[in-house]
Amino acid sequence: MIKKLIIYCFLIIGSVMFVYPFFWMVSASLSPENELSHLTFLPSVLTLQSYKQVLEKIPIIRSFLNSLFVSLSITAGVLIFSSMVGYALSRLRFRGRQLIFYVIIFTMTLPFQITLIPQYILMVKFTWIDTFLSLIVPYLLNSFAIIMFRQYFMSIPQDLIDAARIDGCNELQILYRILWPNSVPALITVGIITFMASWNEVLWPLIVIRNEKLMTMPQLVTLFAVGGRAESQLGAKLASATLLAIPIVLAYVFFQRYFIQSMASSGLKE
């Protein structure tokens, strides 16, 4: 009984440690600037002053829409193209298939540090700097998603595919009409991981986007914090950070189970 009590104590202390800082951030962003330096729990009055400042100083709503557009495009692209490649690798026979599989495994281990500079130069030469193309196109396919789909499709019975072929389906119809509805867990896993990764990406946007109207949300908030425009107003900084956290936290609250399962299974496959 005492042992149980101690376990619960540690678990509660632990969850406070991981959740309380976020709570403090939200409550600080809602407090008047002069109370910030000694705030520990709730301010005496709640005010939206800091949020008003953020909205006045930076195009944060626009950046939210930019991020949404970029992340959704990338996620759709990854699902469509990576499942296509995964299907070909698992179910179609062609020469060099094994070689391509090894190439994919190899690119998975390739550190991004090596391609960062030449990829930027490529964007300059394509004149994609300050366009969404530079944010989206390089991310439309990824090795991890291809491997995930390949593994998943291999577990689907060949009979299902043969039956569809006899019914006159072509390969694309087999993939999107027969395999997709039977691969919902794989689609969710790849979808969540891709969306989260692109939503939270900040290094690449910092490099290829300079026009404030085209910036993604994490990028804009970062530049607001490190550039002089927050004018060291803590409340405004924390309000912008809170706005940045809200979309993904909301998604997490609703799809919590999927988030945890997806990230755990992606980790285990490494």
Partner: protein, 289 residues
């Protein structure tokens, strides 16, 4: 005929990957090999300078400093992450209520953007008004110069990174712990094994793969550290938080030394790959024996 047709569909379906690979992987890697022998600021023509970039790299104190900083990060981050994750995974593996709630709470920092976490911790780490120092003062301790002391800034970033990532490893360790058949423990109990004996001989081997994964992923993470120092310290104080990627970023996009930045990127990649290969080798040896 039918077989040929199948061949063609196969190629058609992997063609998006091939194009993507050639443009965004094969070309950049090849081009970076070329860039390493040149001086170039993108605007004026490329200038061949032979091995100058390599010579410069070997003597570049910032390059070595960033490697040392990464090591400092890893020495603190890896053991801390493993211990904290194991501790909470063990607690969650007991027969308790609200497991789902606790799991979700620990996992929250994992999903939130690193930008948010960094901006938040910058305030927690504040010297005079930061929550952590106020807590220390209130229990009668000295203030700590979290982000202003060159000795403490990198450990402080490592602590924050642990806070952000540990939720994922709690879940992974929990999966590992739950896969241990309970009759192993029952048998050990019959033999009169102690708590520690059970941990070392039953629990530890079953979570080994997860521990190695933490080591490898943290190594890659340590070399990828960017946004944390970029927002909190700009690489300071006294370059004590200058990370590998931040240094490439500065060389490339502050000074437009494309040739040198590509050289840095190449060598960091080589270091990462060799460290990970060594770790894998060590792991295989340890688990194979």
């Amino acid at each position: 005929m039918k077989l040929r047709l199948k061949n063609v569909t196969g190629y058609l379906m992997i063609s998006p990957y091939l194009i993507h690979f050639l443009v965004f992987v094969a070309f950049p890697v090849t081009f970076s090999l070329l860039l390493m022998f040149h001086r170039w600021n993108i605007i004026s023509p490329m200038e061949f300078i032979g091995l100058n970039n390599f010579y410069r790299l070997v003597h570049d104190v910032y390059f070595w400093r960033s490697i040392l900083n990464t090591l400092v990060f890893l020495v603190i981050h890896v053991p801390l992450q493993i211990m904290v994750a194991l501790f909470f995974a063990e607690l969650l593996n007991q027969n308790i209520r609200l497991r789902g709630f606790f799991r979700a709470a620990f996992f929250l920092p994992v999903v939130v953007s690193g930008v948010v976490v960094t901006m938040l911790w910058e305030q927690l780490y504040g010297y005079d008004t930061g929550l952590l120092n106020r807590l220390l003062v209130s229990i009668g301790l000295q203030k700590i110069g979290w982000l202003v002391s060159p000795q403490i800034a990198m450990p402080a970033i490592a602590l924050m990174a642990t806070w952000k990532n540990v939720g994922l490893y709690i879940i992974l360790f929990l999966v590992g712990l739950q896969s241990v058949p309970s009759h192993y423990y029952e048998a050990a109990d019959l033999e009169g094994a102690s708590h520690w004996q059970k941990f070392w001989h039953i629990t530890f081997p079953s979570i080994n793969p997860t521990i190695f994964m933490v080591v490898i992923l943290s190594t890659i993470g340590g070399f990828s550290l960017f946004i944390e120092p970029y927002i909190m310290t700009g690489g300071g104080p006294l370059n004590s938080t200058l990370s590998a990627v931040l240094y490439i970023y500065k060389q490339g996009f502050f000074y437009y030394h494309m040739g040198y930045a590509a050289t840095l990127g190449f060598f960091f990649a080589v270091i990462i790959l060799s460290v990970v290969a060594l770790q894998k080798r060590f792991i295989e040896k340890e688990t194979g024996a």
